[in-house]
Amino acid sequence: MKAPTLPAQQLVETGTTTTKPRKSRLGRRTTRSALLFLVPFMIMFLSMKMAPIFYAIYQSFFKTERSGLGVGSAKSLFAGFENYFTALQNSDFIASFGRVFLIGIIQVPLMLTIALFLALLLDSAFSPFKRGFRLIYFLPYAFPGVIAAIMWSFLYQPNIGPFSGWLSAIGLDVNFLANNTVFFSIGNMMTWGFTGFNMLVIYSALQAVPEELTEAASLDGAGWWATAWHIKIPAVRPAVILTAVFSIIGTVQLYNDPAILAKVAPGISSTFTPIMAAQQQTAANNYNLGAAQSVILALVALVLSFGFLKFTQRKGADS
């Protein structure tokens, strides 16, 4: 498109100053076009995102009662908050939040520390083979989560995976699928899958840090670590916050890894994570309770991610 910009601007200017109606006609035309561009997405958005949420909320306020011995026709009755009380008193459901919290509180900070550290190393002038390392760190993210979970479920098995053998060679007998170690096994799967992605986000932010800043620090005699701590890390704070929000949301929605490991690890119950718990209720035809659990889970996810965003923004404003 080699449109002459100058005459065009003149035309626009004359249009705005002399003939007002033309401008409003253009305004109407662009508004209508904007809405036409939006319509296909909005139809899908409303029917595939908003409608299911409202349907789940609606379902969560009803209960199904069957007459006779549970074989008669089902009647839907308004139940108020009954399903929510039932969900919040369900110890399995509450415990599932506890497990996810326990995994997240250790795994997320650990993963982000590694990601930040690797990004700083990749950004530094002295590190070798940067391109190769960057590509390698990205590979696990390109690896679909479900297939990764299948792969790890084999890797943890002592008869075909290598890790049990290596550990027993140094005198450690570790069963990756035992009731307690399975928490670490799941945390490891999450770390393996997402550290590279988070590192890449932080790394791209690091590249946007002005060269003069870091050079000035070097000339003032600041070492690599001092430069990183005082200049680079504060500069990439927004990127680190972004990865933290992504990771928190990722932990709340934990499903694939434990659901697939559950087949080989007897310690993983069918209500191990909140999504698994809600799925179990749905599978047992407790649609209304499953809906209430889904709504609670979505609310928790929203509150956590919004809360974390607000918290970090306020902290940023204070300092």
Binding site: T5, F37, P52, F126, Y137, N256
Partner: protein
């Protein structure tokens, strides 16, 4: 900057290399194991070194994968392409149009729409799987292609990214000039907006592709029928059905076959992730 090279002590470079190589090993060991193991016969799987090759049996294993259950692996592959490639392509187109509208037009209600979409970004697709299942089972749509494909066409993150990118990268003067030349709004979008947005749209496509691939809960809930399932659900079923005669080697080789094309594609396209992801980041 030669002075920096001289100033950096050898120990710093060695330290950096060791740390980065250690993490590279951590990333690669599972992949190496998968490649090595996919080449082994069912017997060698349990008796040989898990990290090194035994008798090379990859061809036989691949044949086994495609012969298992009357060749259902090929059907699953086709389904995955429909769900992931088809879904991500249409989702990208919808996101491009919506993002362009939000990024380049002033109209009443623009802020409201943007904020609703932004809020939806914070709720991941998997959280919608159960509500969608409840809704689709009410309208008898479960166990169809549509039950998995339709929800995959919506990418709020894609719209968010596309609108940010469109707002920054498409010069408004260019659009106005085209308008004065008499081009229709649709033509302006296709000939000017869409080409300029292409780098961001590649990111949107990749992102949505990964999102559909990894939303395993949605197809698990929606599809009972073997022949409608994507590779992910099918392979997990094989993993579970060891006692019904699905050998480990078939599942492991099938997993490798399911990811190799993806890994290659991502290795080629990974540069698109660099700048564009943070362009839409939290500011």
């Amino acid at each position: 900057m030669p002075w920096r090279q001289q100033r950096t002590p050898f120990s710093a470079r060695a330290f950096s290399l060791i740390v980065m190589a250690t993490f590279a090993l951590y990333s690669l060991v599972p992949l190496w194991w998968l490649v090595v193991t996919a080449t082994k016969s069912s017997q060698d799987l349990f008796t040989t070194n898990p990290m090194w090759f035994a008798d090379f049996n990859l061809g036989q294993n691949i044949a086994d994968v495609f012969n298992q259950q009357n060749g259902i692996f090929a059907v699953w592959t086709g389904n995955t392409i429909i769900y992931c490639v088809g879904g991500a392509a249409i989702a990208t187109l919808l996101a491009a149009m919506a993002g362009y509208a939000l990024g380049k037009y002033e109209f009443p209600g623009r802020k409201v729409v943007s904020n609703i979409i932004l809020a939806a970004v914070l709720l991941p697709a998997i959280l919608f799987a159960l509500p969608l299942y409840l809704m689709f089972s009410e309208i008898q749509m479960v166990n169809t292609y549509w039950s998995v494909l339709l929800p995959s066409l919506v990418s709020p993150f894609g719209v968010f990214l596309a609108s940010t990118y469109a707002g920054q990268a498409i010069p408004t003067e260019l659009l106005e000039a085209a308008r004065l030349d008499g081009a229709s709004e649709a033509r302006i979008f296709w000939r000017i907006g869409f080409p300029i947005m292409t780098p961001a749209l590649v990111t949107v496509f990749l992102y949505q592709f990964v999102a559909i691939w990894s939303n395993y809960l949605l197809p698990v809930l929606m599809l009972n029928n073997d022949t409608l399932q994507p590779l992910s659900v099918g392979l997990v079923n094989w993993r579970e059905r060891l006692n019904e005669g699905i050998p480990y080697s078939v599942t492991i080789t099938g997993s490798l076959l399911a990811v190799v094309p993806l890994l290659l594609a991502f290795s080629i396209l990974q540069r698109y992730w660099r700048s564009d992801l943070t362009a839409g980041g939290v500011k």
